[in-house]
Symmetry: C2
Subunit: 371 residues, 2 copies
């Protein structure tokens, strides 16, 4: 876009009123005219780079939702444009791109940056860890956000939770899982900490991009794959080639998506726009989780009633073993450095108490209403 | 409060400012000075009347949080002041006060207005009904909000969800509940649909304001009372006078608090301020639920480990009976009028599917991690 045109556009949406607006430009023109107002106020054009394909259901659309919230509430004083993975920078380079100011915002998930510090995975999800509601309670009312801010500050970034998948499914399997023995040698696409747990249980975790999962499962290159849940899984068509759909997901019990903001760009905002950006992230955080529930409801119904999918529960002793290994793998993250130790301790302390409370509230209620 | 005084207060808020700020006033002053800016842009003074005592923990502080969000994001273009119950109007007159424009916003819960239509209770909570996450998914992604809007439109109100207590506790009892027989004649403070269910189970529901519960329980005027959960219950000191603390709450599994806005006042806002008000409600909705988790975690810990509270689970056959009666009582709400029927059908349809999905995700996960 040409610069002249840019300023024209910028002007139109920039009028704000309070605080920010100066009326200086108005002397030459009728102060009431639209033209006068549009010339007086400039717009911030912000780029949001993401780790998702543009408009990928749930995750990519969640990033679009966030941008829309900021654009609307700021009356266009900030105009955020969302870029899919690879459009401006490759998916896994967005952290550095926003850190060095090439873009102002990034939308991804903290476990992608475990190379910076393995304990960052606590800000996404850990096997047998907190659910979405616990994660958010820890972040906003349990000291979690302050630690996340401390962790990202050294990279010149301001973090925010900006979405959640809720509990993911254990995945699609072409081999029955009846005993621990069935995990031995199991070739399964499962990245991150879940993959490490599977490895310690004797399996062979592999990491493949989403686009290769269908053919890999079809060809037998892998025996199983996790993805997200009914909504995203139905769209990928796994039910056409996999025998069993296992639950519950133990490896990603409430994956938090994030939005990080270039700290300098954030600090240059006036207080009301800072509040708008942070609040927009909080609403996006909630909205994605809610959309996933509604879409998963329908998709599960379709998978079971139209496609006759064989939904199976992982056996208790398998779960027990995975739980023990998960605790082991997660605890190791705390030994990385002093910050990792602080994150681990804070997370664990909150989790111990929230588990006790949810046991007699959310969990007890969900059990009793089902009977 | 006298009517004249009331109208004086109301007058402050008359300026609506849509459009919004004009720079006209600046000709006489240096347009860059703070003075010039503050004169150029007027502020909407909005009143939020509530059903809670001012700053009541969780509920009243949630209303304050909402006001603060609006004030900050709008840079004071809207300035919301919160009034506790009785400060401007009595608690149960806030609906009419906002409807007739005496105040711009109200903070309460929809079941208080069941006199207008019993089906409004679906927008708060119903016995054995949806949890907070399901309620919000229904509201924002399942058609629930559109029905709520339809229901409130006839009163000139725009509704928004603005808080949630999550699953409440069954309450404090001075009689053991071992069988269905123990409900017979039980004098329990439990209002609304839960009270109706208890009545059909042979109990004697009574309704008392929060401030009278402690002494009523102490004197034996009542055998039991429900309130909210560990955080609010600890503050009331019920553990000092009640023998047993029962779980899980079956009568209020995810009580939604609301903010309703005078429709005319809302429609006069420019689009960005409308977005700010609605988004602020959504964040307040989420924040209260998260705060309750964090505070309940700590309070439960205190109740058990410092006060040795006897926490007990309601017996399965009692729960089963209450579930059956709850279904009966809830279904009756759908027969009020055509709108009630639509609300009941939409709620039930969503709930059937969400229950199926949560059974293999949230519920299955919470069970397996506890082992």
């Amino acid at each position: 876009m040409q610069r002249r045109k840019f300023l024209q556009y910028a002007g139109i949406s920039a009028f704000t009123g309070a605080g920010l607006a100066s009326c200086k430009g108005d002397e030459k023109a009728d102060s009431n005219s639209h033209q006068a107002k549009t010339e007086a106020f400039k717009t911030l054009q912000w780029k949001m780079v993401t780790t998702w394909p543009k408009n990928f259901p749930g995750l990519g659309t969640g990033a679009e939702f966030l941008a829309k919230q900021i654009n609307e509430m700021s009356n266009g004083r900030i105009h955020v444009t969302v870029y899919g993975a690879g459009e401006l920078v490759p998916a896994f380079e967005i952290f550095d791109a926003v850190s060095n100011g090439s873009a102002q915002m990034g939308h991804g998930s903290a476990y992608y940056w475990k190379g910076k510090n393995p304990a960052l995975q606590f800000f996404s999800t850990t096997p047998f860890g907190m659910t979405a509601m616990e994660m958010n309670a820890w972040l906003y009312h349990g000291g979690g956000m302050e630690l996340w801010q401390e962790a990202y500050k050294q990279f010149g970034l301001v973090p925010a939770a900006a979405g959640n998948t809720n509990v993911q499914m254990a995945g699609w399997f072409n081999k029955e899982i009846n005993t621990l023995e069935d995990l031995k040698g199991l070739k399964m696409r499962i990245p991150g900490l879940g993959g490490e747990v599977l490895k310690r249980a004797g399996g062979t975790p592999v990491n493949l991009p989403g686009g290769e999962l269908f053919t890999s499962l079809q060809s037998g290159a892998i025996d199983a794959t996790e993805w997200v849940g009914p909504y995203n899984d139905l769209a990928f068509g796994f039910h056409k080639i996999a025998k069993y759909y296992y639950y519950p997901g133990w490896h990603e019990p409430g994956t938090t998506l994030e939005c990080f903001i270039n700290q300098k760009a954030f600090e240059e905002l006036p207080a009301d726009l800072q509040a708008i950006v942070i609040t927009a992230c909080r609403v996006a955080n909630q909205d994605m989780a809610l959309e996933y529930i509604a879409r998963n409801n329908d998709a599960l119904d379709t998978l079971i009633n139209e496609h006759n999918v064989d939904v199976r529960k992982l056996p208790d002793d398998v779960i027990k073993k995975l739980a023990t290994l998960s605790k082991e793998v997660t605890a190791e993250l705390g030994f990385t450095d002093p910050l990792a130790r602080k994150i681990y301790d804070s997370y664990s302390d909150f989790f111990n108490k929230s588990r006790a409370w949810l046991d007699i509230s959310e969990r007890a209620y969900l059990n009793l209403r089902t009977g």
